[in-house]
């Protein structure tokens, strides 16, 4: 298998203005980083990358949390709804941050999703009001590796 080589030879993904995402208050623990680019690479669905704009080596893997848990009902504080300028639920794109622990274990943070305003591209990591109902390490069902 030549996985490592394939990765190295991969064409760098050029960020475009259409998927730049600004997080004015930063992610928790990364408050100083405010400019990101949201990138989906073919073959990696349903995952996408939230890459630091000035440093393509720094990135978070994200997933639509509803894809993992269709009954997910995040309760977003009114102040955050106002901050993001969300008028209705269709304005919001939710991204769950994925931690890849190993080849066989990956989890998604359902307590603190990133909420993106689809129209302004302004986003914020929000600790949902019903965070106690959800796991910070909600397991992702990974496919069995083909032998």
């Amino acid at each position: 298998m030549k996985c490592a080589e394939t990765i190295e030879l991969e064409t760098p993904v050029i960020p475009t203005a259409t998927n730049a995402v600004r997080i004015p208050t930063g992610l928790l623990g990364f408050e100083q980083i405010k400019e990101y680019v949201l990138i989906a690479k073919p073959g990696e669905e349903p995952f996408a990358w939230l890459q630091v704009q000035d440093n393509s080596a720094l990135a978070f893997v994200v997933i639509d949390p509803f894809m993992v848990l269709p009954e997910y009902q995040p309760d977003i504080p009114t102040t955050d709804v106002e901050f993001l300028g969300l008028k209705n639920s269709d304005d919001a794109l939710l991204l769950g941050i994925v931690t890849v622990h190993s080849a066989t274990k990956a989890t998604v943070n359902l307590k603190g999703p990133i909420v993106v305003n689809r129209h302004t591209h302004i986003a914020k990591q929000i600790i949902i009001m019903n965070a106690a109902d959800y796991s910070i390490e909600h397991p992702l069902p990974l496919a069995e590796t083909v032998a």
């Binding site: 996985c3 995952f47 996408a48 994200v62 639509d64 993992v68 591209h121 992702l140 990974l142």
Partner: protein
Amino acid sequence: MLILSRKSGESIIIDGHIHVKIVRVEGDVVKLGIEAPSSVPVHRKEVYEVIQRSNQQALMKQPLPLPKLAGAPKVAPKTNLPKP
């Protein structure tokens, strides 16, 4: 660390625009009312730390191959957002 004594109903003001009010004191529980601009995130520290740790663990410094998800439809989050 600055330590101030306040009674129930009294407040402090931080930087002229963040108000922290002592709403009630019941035994060892102090209820605080916080008024801050929406651009100032306010969190319970223990929850903040859990999410901070999770973010730090999630950060990828190399574009590693991603695992495949079982059973889920192959739809990525909509990365082509309408122009602002």
